[in-house]
Assembly symmetry: C2
Homo-oligomer: 582 residues x 2
């Protein structure tokens, strides 16, 4: 078997302008960025507005394990399978962060014969959208510290009298906008900025700050949720950066930086068109986290794809309790376009890992036993798959389970698992997917079943609506969304809830920031637990994205590098080609 | 008169592929990035290697003033003038930083009818090269802090035994690689990284650090000096990031990060092709500082342009004591291609400002008197122009003075100034340039005189060669380069000199980091002073770039934002077009 990058390099690609034409874009809507990438103008959105929308398929998964379930492989493979069935189809995926590419993760382009190509372009700078997010985000940070410096150095009254601008009287203990960088850099999690040499003040006012990875920026969530450039501008203008000394929120508008931030993201709002190894048009756009944000690619990309293609395949981050929940409750409510079908990706080894019978750690070798037939572990793990199938049904969305096959898998166990799924009901189907090894050819059965399930009429039922009270939204997500028995708000969270209600943010959506490794908030609890409590430590406002996120435990927003990071393998060879990219 | 951006938007542009073909690039050497930008493959370098080189013209200036002398306007105007004379010509300029675009400076695309277009693309992300420098630079920073963390947490012996890697034993007081960001952000000049919550250690080891603006990264200097991708890789591998506890230098190779940094800059090494408002092909590549680095656009861009065009027009940063000196002593010695002619840009108001008779500050209104005829001020200021003309001649390079005309200028003073220049000798000529108001048509006389001066045979004589001792290079630059009487090394600089010699860096070039606002190291001293001392406070090693820079006074490597930054004017209008970009 060849490596992903070898397969990618050996596969002849179609010129991107041809991919675009085939997808239905007009030539003046396409700005090619080299031979195999193109920016798609939002003019296409207006042109296509009256078209009927095709079917939207969201790929989700069982509770993730350190092994990787192959969600992107399945997304790309399914799109290729549909193309082989001569259905018009596009895929929409998120842009991967560069930080993790240099860290532990390797690429995020799918794998085997189901990849987005060229994979090195997807995994590195692509067309610069993440860089634009980083620049726009840090421009606001520079604006905050500059304003603190000028106001405090001069004194508020003197500042107002001289500059003709209102003093913002920023509370330096309540600057809620951190800086960002697209790297795994733990040393930046907590920093002191504005330090000065002794008896100097030229570097500004010292305060505590920190960096998140760029994908964790509220701007990334906004990019994924905005419907057009004007909406991007409005959303950016609503971002709360800090609070003044009286506790009033200060927005980007108050700092007069919202326009410049939008200008910086003017190209980023256009999705990037690429192709799969089998030439299926694929839109890459935005890459928000699936805990502190909603973890799905952009509404703009979906809107373009569903107006042009009979089927649009997209994916949500982590398991169905995370990305899929947010695809329904946050994204679909913002876009007005509900999923027509969900694909739940499962693997034999992933289900066994979810049995709780194995102790697995990221980066460690996979125990051989996981590949051996193990009826007990599989049956235990199946409770987790069943939970995710039922979770999808909760929203009125039919499910197709894709069992992503690995070469070591037992045929008997695969069939056993498929049988268990079939017994769950008519609105559930199952297919074994060989998309990794065989591309679209390996996903024909899956594609056929998705086509069938998409024809099932169903009323889409999100768990909450915006007019419900914030606390009710939290409770509903915990109880109905996760099957918890209760929620417990910390004192801090209670105070924040009160404040957000008073400040007029009660109509926002709620985004749960919890571990993806369990349906509960405790990563050690596997399977399909019930009766648990959801402790909510803190609430954070993302007024531009349009949600409040609830921190249920520690969520890492700036990863670190291991002692042998993936970057150590990366280099160029004598031909100038990249080597060492997994 | 229209604003720069209005002129730019009203001017029809040529599709970039046509610009490229006209310039002589083959279609498979051109990767268009949208309609008006293209990356040029370095394959063109090999193809063109045997071609004869055209003439290289370096545009420099009098000692800069806060008024702006119009060096880029003259560079672009001259290129357009040569095109109007039916000479084949290309311009090569640096990519502007985004930080200053949001700060005080506005754009850097030239102005009036002598601009690189589209100016908003040049001034914002362009094709992402600065972002690539930022990412590659900060990857090394993350690598340093991760290695410090893993080695110190585990202990050196345990780290070696477990990981199989040699412990680097990094001296955290001697990490010489700061982080970078492309913003004007004074609060990042001095930061503490690796801070932890009480009794925690998960964020690494606390140490003092700081951020420079990305253009100040050694990687930016390397990008401008590298001759191809393999040379980029080698230069990156020579960068010294830190010292170990025994005082030995630790390079990117020791951290195994040089390959990944090169991969990150793989696209950045390709120059970006754009065009002037009159369709002259223009290569944009790299943007190193002209004090702590050598302040000229890339050798690769020059090599491509001089192999294809009869005339290549490029510019060096600041006055001829800065960018032009470094074009000769650092860039030309690295490239093997000497300037064939220098254009020295002067303005009436700039010379008067250089008289020392006015007190000018950046950001303040220009006093009306500067536009009034003032024989005494002009004559005083002329000593500065004469100094720069003679400085250029020192290298055996003929000079053409371009007097950049402003609407308020007195015709009589313009003629007077031109006459004074003509009296200086045969290897000097002069032309009044109307490039701002009239484009190439306004630079015909200048273009004609440049053509004539380029025909003058002359032996190129840089001030020093690499085999001279470091101290001798410093002395030569001060005495011969500036006309100083002496240099004074601080104790720290003496110790560094000794160390660099011992560690085998004695053959590197020397890059003077001093104020551009005076020929001396004191920005208050105007005109053409002599007999002064050059105090050298500190020496810094840029082993990858291939020079040691000498700090003569404070050089700001991270600007700050004023209280009313340029970003406050930036926004998008109802059509989605950018407004407020100067």
């Amino acid at each position: 078997m060849h490596t992903d990058i070898e397969i990618c390099r050996q596969t002849p690609l179609v010129p991107i302008n041809d991919v675009a034409t085939r997808a239905g874009f007009l030539s003046d809507e396409v700005q090619s960025q080299g031979a195999y990438k193109a920016k798609i103008s939002l003019d296409a959105l207006s042109r296509l507005n009256a078209n009927q929308s095709g079917k939207l398929v969201v790929v989700t998964a069982i509770t993730p394990t350190p092994l990787g379930e192959g969600k992107t492989v399945t997304t790309i493979g399914l799109a290729q399978g549909l193309a082989k069935l001569e259905r018009s189809v596009m895929a929409c995926i998120r842009q991967p962060s560069m930080g993790p590419v240099f860290g532990v993760k390797g690429g995020a382009a799918g794998g085997g014969y189901s990849q987005v190509a060229p994979m090195e372009e997807l995994n590195l700078h692509l067309t610069g959208d993440i860089h634009a997010v980083t620049v726009a985000h840090n421009l606001a940070s520079a604006a905050i510290d500059a304003r603190i410096y000028h106001e405090q150095r001069e004194g508020y009254d003197a500042f107002e009298a001289r500059s003709g601008m209102k003093a913002l009287r920023i509370d330096i203990e309540r600057v809620v906008w951190k800086r960002v960088m697209d790297h795994n850099d733990r040393a930046l999690r907590m920093v002191t900025v504005g330090r000065n040499a002794p008896n100097k003040t030229i570097n500004g006012i010292e305060r505590q700050d920190g960096f998140d990875i760029s994908a964790a920026s509220e701007l990334m969530a906004i990019l994924a949720l905005a419907s057009n450039l004007a909406d991007l501008r409005e959303r950016i203008g609503r971002i709360v950066l800090a609070y003044d000394l009286d506790g009033n929120p200060l927005t980007t508008q108050d700092f007069k930086v919202a326009g410049a931030m939008t200008v910086t993201m003017k190209d980023a709002i256009e999705p990037t068109l690429m192709q799969t190894l089998e030439g299926v048009p694929t839109l890459i756009h935005a890459g928000p986290f699936a805990n502190i944000a909603h973890g799905n690619s952009s509404i703009i990309a979906d809107n373009l794809a569903t107006k042009l293609a009979e089927f649009t395949i997209t994916e949500g981050g982590f398991g169905s309790d995370m990305g899929f929940e947010k695809a329904c409750n946050i994204k679909a409510q913002a876009s007005g376009k509900a999923p027509d079908c969900a694909v739940v990706v499962a693997t034999l080894r992933g289900l066994k890992a979810n049995s709780g019978l194995y102790d697995l750690r990221p980066g460690q070798a996979i125990p051989d036993q996981l590949y051996q037939p193990d009826h007990r572990a599989l049956l235990e793990g199946f409770t987790n798959l069943k939970w995710h199938i039922n979770n999808v049904r909760k929203y009125g969305v039919p499910a197709v389970v894709a069992i992503n096959r690995f070469p070591q898998d037992s045929e008997q166990e695969l069939q056993q698992l498929a049988q268990w799924v079939r017994e769950l009901g008519d609105d559930v189907d199952v297919a074994i997917s060989d998309a990794f090894a065989k591309g679209g050819e390996g996903a024909l059965e899956l594609a056929q079943k998705v086509v069938t399930q998409c024809q099932t009429a169903h009323p889409f039922t999100p768990l909450y609506t915006s007019n419900m009270k914030l606390e009710q939204k939290l409770l509903t997500l915990a109880e109905v969304g996760y099957g918890a028995a209760s929620i417990t708000l910390s004192d801090a969270a209670k105070a924040q809830l009160k404040l957000f209600n008073e400040q007029g943010f009660g109509n926002l959506a709620v985004c749960m920031a919890k571990t993806p490794l369990s349906i509960t908030t405790d990563s050690a609890i596997k399977g399909a637990p019930t009766g648990f409590d959801v402790p909510i430590q803190e609430l954070k406002l993302c007024a531009g994205a349009g949600f409040i996120y609830a921190l249920c435990g520690n969520v890492m927003t700036m990863p670190g590098l291991p002692d042998k990071p993936a970057f150590m393998e990366l280099d160029i060879d004598a031909n100038g080609d990249i080597i060492g990219l997994a």
